[in-house]
Amino acid sequence: MVDAVAKPPREPGSVKRFIERYPFLPALAIMLLLLALNGIWQPRSVSLVGITGLVKTYMALMLLAVAQTYVVYAGDIDLSAGAIVSLVNVVIVAAMAAMGDSGFSVIAAMAIGLGVGLACGLVNGVVVATFRLQAIVATFATSIFFTGLALWIMPVAGTPAPATFWRAYGGRILEIPFVFWAAAVLALILYLLARTRLALQLLAVGDDAQGAYQSGLPVTAIRMRGYALCGLFAALAAFCVTGDTASGDPLVGGKMTLFSVAAVVLGGSALAGGYGTVVGSVFGALIIGLINSLVYFVGTPSEWQNLVQGLAILVALMAGILVGRRARS
């Protein structure tokens, strides 16, 4: 103990320092490795068409992982994220079905969808931050409620989305696939959000809620805003799900919740809060997508695919945490 005080703090290695500054680097490395492996086994998967397909399918998970990241920043978690996706999905499909197939109806439905996502996020914020219920169980309870609402709006899956909507999602603007435009806009939004005070405040609350409170931060309001942001991004994820599946399904997002948590962890963010990046979560979602496609490309028999995917994700989760911790220790 004594000599630890006497010695000057050891200079960490440059690699370590780099990872500490950019926590998503291990995720980026894993992602590039997986991309290369995908390319080796199926050269077409790294072509423009292949990448477009990957982004088109996993855009929703990327957005939901981003959504999850903002609550994880503050040390919270949202187990209702997938249920919000389902709810917004059926709301916008029902709204577009009611208003007819036109550009105006699509835009109006998306505005309604964002409102619903925001409202769900605020409900979560109220129960977790204002009522101070434990996030895991409280957001599980709200997820049941949101799923009930989704079932009330659309009892069975199958109502088609209007062609304007999914044609736009799968289409091209100026010869560039729409999803890349969406990804570019997303990148810009994330960049701007990362520069706001809110991102820093969420991280401060996650790092040390008591300390944040004592230094004058409105902790309850900040956590609430984290959930609101989560609801909004879950709504965006729902738009992508709707564009990809072209229909409404009251249970479509349920399975996505735990994958969004996994993506956040894969991206190098700490579930305990106070440390992480949204970019990492985007990479995390792509890692999950690339693992799934790689397992398929290497010719795993169909009944074994889920098991191999599960094992690969478990290994990636563990590797990510170990590398991240070594970098920070």
Partner: protein, 318 residues
Amino acid sequence: MSRLLDLARQPLLVALALIVVLLIVGELLSPGFASPTQIMRLLIVAALLGIVAAGQNLVILGGREGIDLSVGGVVSLSAIIAGNLMNGQDAGIPLAILGCIATGALFGLANGLGVTLLRIPPLVMTLGMLGVLQGLLVVIRQGIPSGRAAPGLSQFVTQPFLFGLPGIIWLWVAIGLLLAFLLSRTVYGYRVYAIGSNEQAARMAGVPVAAMRVSLFVLSGVFAAIAGICLLGYSGSSFANVGEQYMLPSIIAVVFGGTSLAGGKGGYTGTMAGAMMLTVLQGILTTVNIDESGRQMIFGATLLLLMLFYGRGRAMRA
């Protein structure tokens, strides 16, 4: 008055009172809800959840954000393994029990080692393990039929055994007594609370923290496996992902029982009441004549309302 308020802060009493209230509400909504046969049926269903929640409870008590999301997967896996090992024959029951418990212990061990040796957060470790279990279930389902429960097992779970109550309820009571004894009267129990409330202090006091934590995850796997066997007896044959319905409810039962998710505080008796409460609530919702959407909305809203009675975090103070 303050004495009364103190009583209202006892989670076990709150849970028991809420069970009575819910039973009365159920009886009012549909006469016959609180009849002895119905209550026994509810007890059987509660026992299944309660046994899963026993392991969950131990892991949560052990602290360091202890949680086991893989219990649902172990329940499903155990049900399918038991169904195949006994395949409708009473003679196969002992082997099935052994096989299932070994499987549950193995997955619990893997979780425990990941959490202690590699220091992976329990939520992440068990989430990853859940994915592995779900994949494993797909593989098993392709290769072999789902298997059937032995008549002896079905009888144990559904037919009266002693004082008119089926064996599973006695098993649940036995587990409750065992855990109450273990947690309050043995060194092992003290150590669970010690590592749950202050791991550093426990380590300095000579508690083998890592071994303790691994043992809690192993027990969680074992309890989930036992619940899986009983679930097979309840439904006759196993079907895909039967266990999934237990993952988060097992955590809610623990919370309703007054155990703090932060660890080190609580016990299993409350969790038993919590499991019963959840089951009665679900029972009411399936009895009343509303469609699935309304049922889910009411269920979610009631859960939130009930949570207000429990473990709210402390308000921030400067």
